[in-house]
C-alpha cells in the first residue's frame, strides 16, 4: 500500500521540473507524512528523477591519480598566483586554474605556516566581505604549535638513507567543471601500459580524462559549479598513490566562492582535510577547527613512515619494512614495524559543523599506500612472490605487472555513496535533518549504476563506503542469482593476517560496512564464463538516517518482491571478458586461516595489555530522550558535545591503551579514532568475527543495528607524533551535531595543553585549551 503511493508520488515529482526543488520538498513534506515515517528516503525530499536513464548503460569512471612530482629545490621566480574568482559568488576559470596547478610548488613549503604573504584573494575578500587589516597566504595556524613536526627529518628533497626525497601534489577544491586534462600526463601508466592503453589496442580502461564532465550519467544534466565541489573541481574522483618512505607535501588550495550562499543549498566554503587514519602529525591530520578560507592554501605534510619508526627496526634491516623502487621488485628498506603497513585510505573534509555536507558535495579522495609487501605489482612470473617462496615479501595482490609498483589494471578503487538530486538533476542535501541523511541513488565512483568490463582473472577491489549516513551490506551475484565466492584481504585498509573466504559460516555476503569502512576483496572472475554479468548488490535496508534497519534476503531483492529502500538492489555490473595473459597474482586461498600469513599484527605482550590504561567513551544522548543532543561521555563524566577547546583524553605517546566504546542510545554509531588503528579485543565481551580477528581497524561499529554491538573494546597505541587529534561518530551528520571529541597525544610529563586555533579571514589566533579531569 505504502509502496504504491510512494511510486505514485515519484511519478508526479518527475514532472515537477519547473518547480523549484524547495517548493517540491515542501510539497512532499506536507503531502506524505505517513510515507516519510516509514521510508524517509531521500531524507526530507522527493525521489531523484532518472531522466529515462537505464541502469548499466555507462562505463564506470576509474579514479584519476593526482600525480606526485618531486618537491622543488628552489623558489619559482615567475610563478603566477592563484587565479582570482569571477565574482564574490564565483570561482576561478578552469583554464586559469589548470595553468596555475600545472606550475611547480610556489612558494616553497615552510615548517611554520607561511604568513609572510597575504591571502591570494585578499582584495576580493576586501571587496566582498570587509577590508582585511592583515591576512595570510596559508591558513594553517601560525607558529610553533602547528609547525610541521620533524620537518627536518621528513622534508628533504634529495633521498637519504632509508628515505626517498619528498614529493608534492597540489589541488584546488573548486566548483564542478569540465576536466581540462591537467593530470592526464601525470598518470603513472602514461596511457601506454597494460589495460590503460588506447581502446583501439583492445585494452579496457584507456579513455583519457580530458573532457569529462561532472555528470552522473549521460542522460542526467551536468552538475553546476555550486552543486558539486571536488579536488580540482573535476571528475573522475582523485586517487593519491603514495609510497612508504616517500614523504608527501599536499598543498590544498581553497578556490571556493567567497560568498557562502553560493552553495546550492549545502556545503561550507571553509575546509580542513583529514587523511583518514594516516600515521601523520596532528597539524597535518585535519583538526576540525584548523580550517582555511577561500584564497588560502594549507600545506599537509604526510611523512609516510611506518608506525614504530622510532622504536622498532631502527636500523632498517627487516626486508619486510621497505618501499618499492623503480627496478622490478626492487625495494629500499625503511625503519619501523612492517606489521603496521597500511594500504587503502581516503582523505576527506573535516570542517567543523559541515563535514557531512562537504564530503557529500565531493570533498573526498582515495589514497593507496604502496609498500614492499603490497606494492601493486604481481610480477610477470610469480617466482618473486611470497606464495612461491616465504622469503619473498611481495604478496603479489592482483594489480598488474607493467610498472614496478602501483599497477591499477586489476586493482580497482570503488567509492560507494548514496546521493539525491533535485528535479533539475542538481545534487541535493537536506541540511535540517540531523538524524542522518540518506540518498535514494547509490553512485559508484560518482557514476550512476555503471558497468565495468573486467578480465576473466583475479581482481582486487578496494571498496570504500563514502556515504554520509548510509551503511551497506554488499553481495556479489551472477545474473542468474548465484553468489560469487571471494576473499576479504584488507579491513579498513589494512591487509589482514589471513584472507577470509566468503560465503563462510558466519556470513554469506560481505559484512555490514559502515561509513568510512574499507573492505579490500579479491574476486576471481575466471570462476565464471566469459560473457557473464555479475552484480554488486546492496542488501542493507535503511528506513531513515539513524542507522541500518535490517538485511534483506537476497532472494527478495532478486525476484523483485522487495520494495522499500530504493538504495537496496543492484548498484554495479561487472561484465566478464576474456583474459589472454597468465594470472600470476596471489591466490588468497593460500592465506586463509591455517595457511600462510599475509601481514601479522604488531606484537604486544600480556604484561603490556595488563598495564594498559583504560578509557571509556559512551556515545549517545545525555538525557536519554531522542530529542536531546548527541554527546560523548568520557570515563563516566558529563555527556558533552564538541568544544574544540576541551581535551577529553590525553594518552602518553608510546603507551598501550584499552578503549571501551559504548553506545548509549541504541542508534548506530560508526566510531572513528584518528591517527592509529586498533585491534578489536571483544564485541559485547565475545571475540570478534573472523574478518576482524586478524584485522587492524579504524572504524568501530557500535549501536543497536545489524552488524553493531553495544560495546567494543580495542587495544591501541599512539607513537611518533604529538598533538591534537579527534574521535567521533562517522555518521557525519551525528559528528556535526556534535558527536566529536578532541584528544591530545602528549609527551610523558607534558602539562601544557596545545592551545586552540580560532580562524577567520585575517588569520588564525589561539585561545587557551582546557583539560578535562579525564585528560591524563
Amino acid at each position: 500500500m505504502m509502496t504504491i503511493s510512494l511510486r505514485g508520488v515519484v511519478a508526479v515529482c518527475g514532472r515537477l521540473a519547473m518547480i523549484s526543488a524547495a517548493a517540491a520538498t515542501a510539497a512532499m513534506l506536507s503531502m506524505q507524512p505517513a510515507i516519510a515515517d516509514v521510508f524517509d528516503i531521500p531524507t526530507g525530499a522527493p525521489r531523484s528523477p532518472l531522466f529515462q536513464a537505464r541502469p548499466f548503460t555507462q562505463p564506470i569512471m576509474l579514479f584519476e591519480e593526482f600525480g606526485n612530482q618531486p618537491a622543488p629545490t628552489s623558489a619559482c621566480a615567475n610563478c603566477a598566483p592563484l587565479p582570482p574568482p569571477s565574482s564574490c559568488a564565483g570561482v576561478p576559470s578552469g583554464t586559469a586554474l589548470d595553468a596555475f596547478l600545472r606550475q611547480t610548488l610556489s612558494p616553497l613549503p615552510t615548517r611554520e605556516a607561511n604568513t609572510s604573504r597575504p591571502n591570494y584573494w585578499a582584495t576580493a575578500v576586501g571587496n566582498c566581505v570587509r577590508p582585511l587589516a592583515t591576512s595570510a597566504i596559508e591558513g594553517r595556524p601560525s607558529g610553533e604549535w602547528f609547525a610541521h613536526q620533524r620537518w627536518g627529518e621528513f622534508s628533504g628533497v634529495a633521498a637519504s638513507a632509508n628515505r626517498l626525497g619528498m614529493v608534492y601534489f597540489q589541488s584546488a577544491t573548486s566548483g564542478a567543471r569540465v576536466n581540462g586534462g591537467l593530470r592526464d600526463p601525470w598518470q603513472r601508466h602514461g596511457w601506454t601500459r597494460g589495460e590503460f592503453r588506447p581502446a583501439s589496442t583492445g585494452a579496457l580502461y584507456g579513455t583519457r580524462n580530458a573532457g569529462r564532465q561532472v555528470r552522473f550519467h549521460p542522460n542526467f544534466p551536468a552538475q553546476q559549479p555550486n552543486s558539486v565541489w571536488t579536488f580540482d573541481g573535476t571528475m573522475p574522483p582523485k586517487l593519491l598513490m603514495a609510497r612508504y618512505g616517500e614523504p608527501i607535501l599536499f598543498r590544498h588550495f581553497n578556490a571556493l566562492p567567497i560568498d557562502p550562499s553560493a552553495n546550492n543549498g549545502f556545503g561550507a566554503h571553509t575546509l580542513s582535510t583529514h587523511e583518514h587514519n594516516g600515521h601523520n602529525p596532528a597539524e597535518s591530520d585535519g583538526f576540525t577547527g584548523a580550517f582555511f578560507f577561500p584564497g588560502q592554501f594549507y600545506d599537509y605534510h604526510w611523512p609516510m613512515v611506518l608506525a614504530g619508526h622510532d622504536s622498532i627496526n631502527a636500523n632498517a634491516n627487516d626486508a619486510h619494512a621497505a618501499t618499492p623502487t623503480t627496478g622490478v621488485n626492487a625495494t629500499m628498506r625503511i625503519r619501523g614495524d612492517w606489521r603496521e603497513t597500511m594500504s587503502t585510505h581516503w582523505f576527506h573534509d573535516h570542517m567543523l559543523d559541515f563535514t557531512a555536507q562537504n564530503v557529500y558535495k565531493g570533498s573526498a579522495a582515495m589514497m593507496n599506500y604502496y609498500s614492499a609487501v603490497d606494492r601493486g605489482n604481481e610480477t610477470s612470473t610469480g617466482a618473486q612472490c611470497n606464495y612461491s617462496n616465504p622469503n619473498n615479501v611481495n604478496l603479489c595482490l592482483p594489480s598488474g605487472s607493467a610498472l614496478p609498483w602501483g599497477n591499477r589494471d586489476y586493482d580497482v578503487n570503488l567509492l560507494l555513496a548514496d546521493k539525491a538530486w533535485d528535479a533539475n538533476g542538481q545534487l541535493f542535501f537536506n541540511i535540517f535533518n540531523v538524524d542522518g541523511f540518506l540518498g535514494d541513488q547509490v553512485l559508484v565512483n560518482w557514476t550512476w549504476r555503471p558497468y565495468m568490463d573486467v578480465r576473466a582473472r583475479r581482481y582486487r577491489l578496494r571498496i570504500l563506503n563514502g556515504a554520509v549516513s548510509r551503511y551497506f551490506q554488499l553481495a556479489l551475484v551472477t545474473a542468474s542469482g548465484v553468489r560469487v565466492p571471494f576473499h576479504m584481504v584488507g579491513n579498513d585498509g589494512n591487509i589482514m593476517e589471513h584472507a577470509v573466504r566468503f560465503p563462510n559460516a558466519e556470513s554469506q555476503d560481505l559484512p555490514v560496512q559502515a561509513i568510512a569502512e574499507r573492505y579490500d576483496i579479491v574476486v576471481d572472475f575466471s570462476q565464471v564464463q566469459v560473457g557473464t554479468k555479475i552484480y554488486l548488490i546492496n542488501l542493507l535496508e535503511h528506513r531513515d538516517g539513524r542507522g541500518p534497519n535490517e538485511t534483506i534476503p537476497l532472494a527478495s531483492v532478486l525476484n523483485g518482491s522487495y520494495v522499500g529502500d530504493p538504495a537496496v538492489g543492484r548498484i554495479m555490473e561487472f561484465r566478464v571478458t576474456s583474459y589472454s595473459g597468465v594470472d600470476r597474482s596471489m591466490n588468497p586461498a593460500f592465506y586463509e586461516e591455517g595457511g600462510r600469513v599475509m601481514i601479522p599484527r604488531p606484537v604486544v605482550s600480556d604484561a603490556e595489555i595488563a598495564n594498559a590504561r583504560h578509557r571509556t567513551f559512551e556515545f549517545g544522548r545525555s538525557s536519554g530522550t531522542d530529542e536531546s543532543p548527541w554527546t560523548i561521555k568520557t570515563d563516566g563524566g558529563q555527556g558533552l558535545g564538541m568544544d574544540p577547546h576541551r581535551v577529553s583524553a590525553a594518552p602518553t605517546i608510546g603507551q598501550w591503551e584499552i578503549w571501551h566504546l559504548e553506545s548509549g542510545d541504541g542508534w548506530s554509531h560508526p566510531v572513528h579514532i584518528h591517527f592509529e588503528e586498533g585491534r578489536i579485543l571483544t564485541r559485547d565481551g565475545a571475540p570478534p568475527p573472523a574478518w576482524e580477528r586478524g584485522a587492524r581497524k579504524d572504524i568501530y561499529r557500535i549501536g543497536g543495528g545489524p552488524g553493531d554491538n553495544l560495546d567494543v573494546t580495542l587495544l591501541i597505541r599512539f607513537r611518533e607524533f604529538l598533538g591534537t587529534f579527534m574521535e567521533h561518530c562517522h555518521n557525519t551528520q551525528h559528528e556535526d551535531h556534535s558527536m566529536l571529541l578532541r584528544w591530545d597525544n602528549r609527551n610523558p610529563g607534558q602539562t601544557v595543553a596545545i592551545p586552540t586555533p580560532i580562524a577567520d579571514w585575517e588569520g588564525v589566533y589561539y585561545e587557551p585549551s582546557l583539560d578535562l579531569p579525564t585528560a591524563d
Binding site: L29, R130, G143, Q224, V752, P755, W761, Y765
Partner: protein, 327 residues
C-alpha cells in the same frame, strides 16, 4: 542600492550594516568596490528561502502578529529555540544559556543577530505568560518570544528539523537551538549544553561570513602558553553556571555564590547541584525559600556527574580562599 545589494550579495546584509555602522568612509569604499565586481548571477542558489520556510503568523509577547518568514527570519542571522513557560527541567537551562549568549553579543542582538523562543504549548502560552517568563529571566531587548497555533508551530518545527511532540509529552521536546543565516542559507543545530561563548561566536562571527572583526581580544602566540584558570571546575562554572551566578559580583538570575561552600552543608550542596528538581519536588525548605527570593526560578538540573560536582565545589572554595573568605 543598499537594499538591492543586501539581497544580491547573499550573506552580506549584516556585513554591509556592519561596515556602514563602523565607519562611513570604510563602508563607502567597500560599496564602491562591491559595485565594481561582476554581477552575481549565481548568488543565492540557496534552496532554503520563502518556498521552504512556512510564512505562518505568530504572536509575540506584546501581541503583535508576525509572519515567520517575512518578519522573523528573512534577511537575518537568527537563533531559534522551542520552549514552554511551565517547563521546569531543560527550558530554564536553555533560557539561561541563551541569556548569556545575548549578554556576550550585547547590543548586536536586535541589530544583526535576532533571537527567538517559540512556545510549543501555544494554547496555554499567551502573550501575557510569555511576558511573565521573560521578566523571570530578565530577558533583554532583541530577543522575542512567540506563540501561535499548534499546527503552525508543529510545521515550523518539522521544517527546522525538530520532531514535534505530543501535547502530553512536552517535557520530551526537542531542545536544540537552530542557528542560521537566512540570506546565506546556512543552518546549524546546536545544543544549550555547549559553552555560550561558542554559540555567540557562531552567531556573531561564522554566520556573518566572519565579517565582523573578532571582538574578543586576540591572544598573541607568545602568551597562549600561560593559561590562567583552566581547572575543570572553572570550565564547568564558565559554561554551565555563569549564566545565572557569579562569585562575588552580586546576584544575577540566581544568588551570588561567594561563601556558599561555607554556608551550606556539603551534602546539601552536592545534592542541590545533582538533583535540584527532586529537592524542589520534596519542598526542601532551603530550596523553596531561595526560589521565593529569586523570581521563583528553579535551579535547573545540569546533568553533572560526581566528578564534575566535586570540581565545581572545589572551584568555588578556591575562589573564596583567594578572596579571603570561607576559612
Amino acid at each position: 542600492m543598499k537594499r538591492e545589494l543586501n539581497t544580491v550579495f547573499a550573506g552580506l546584509g549584516g556585513m554591509l550594516k556592519w561596515l556602514t555602522r563602523n565607519g562611513a568612509a570604510l563602508g563607502a569604499a567597500a560599496l564602491v568596490a562591491l559595485a565594481s565586481m561582476a554581477p552575481l548571477a549565481l548568488a543565492q542558489q540557496t534552496r532554503w528561502r520563502a518556498d521552504y520556510f512556512p510564512n505562518v503568523v505568530l504572536q509575540d509577547q506584546d501581541g503583535r502578529r508576525l509572519r515567520f518568514y517575512d518578519d522573523i527570519i528573512r534577511g537575518k542571522v537568527v537563533a531559534i529555540n522551542f520552549i514552554y513557560t511551565t517547563c521546569t527541567d531543560i527550558c530554564p537551562l536553555d533560557t539561561a544559556q541563551l541569556r548569556r549568549v545575548q549578554q556576550i553579543l550585547g547590543d548586536r542582538v536586535g541589530r544583526d543577530v535576532f533571537m527567538y523562543s517559540i512556545s510549543i504549548n501555544p494554547e496555554s502560552d499567551t502573550p501575557a505568560s510569555l511576558r511573565r517568563f521573560m521578566r523571570t529571566y530578565d530577558v533583554g531587548p532583541g530577543w522575542t518570544f512567540l506563540t501561535g497555533s499548534r499546527a503552525d508551530v508543529d510545521l515550523l518545527q518539522s521544517r527546522l528539523g525538530i520532531r514535534p511532540v505530543e501535547q502530553n509529552n512536552l517535557s520530551q521536546h526537542g531542545t536544540s537551538i537552530i542557528v542560521g543565516n537566512e540570506v546565506t542559507g546556512q543552518w546549524i543545530k546546536r545544543s544549550s549544553f555547549e559553552a555560550p561563548q561558542l554559540l555567540a561566536n557562531l552567531l556573531g562571527q561564522s554566520l556573518h561570513n566572519y565579517a565582523p572583526q573578532a571582538t574578543a581580544q586576540r591572544q598573541s602566540y607568545a602568551v597562549v602558553g600561560e593559561v590562567t584558570d583552566t581547572t575543570p571546575g572553572a570550565y564547568i562554572f564558565r559554561t554551565r553556571c555563569r549564566s545565572c551566578h557569579t562569585v562575588g559580583e552580586g546576584d544575577r538570575l540566581g544568588p551570588d555564590l561567594r561563601g556558599v561552600v561555607g554556608t551550606r552543608p556539603r551534602a546539601w550542596l552536592e545534592r542541590w547541584i545533582r538533583d535540584p528538581d527532586d529537592m524542589i519536588a520534596e519542598r526542601d525548605p532551603t530550596a523553596i525559600a531561595m526560589m521565593a527570593r529569586y523570581r521563583n526560578l528553579p535551579m535547573p538540573d545540569l546533568g553533572l556527574g560526581e566528578t564534575d560536582i566535586q570540581a565545581v565545589i572545589t572551584y568555588l572554595r578556591t575562589q573564596d580562599e583567594a578572596a579571603g573568605h570561607g576559612r
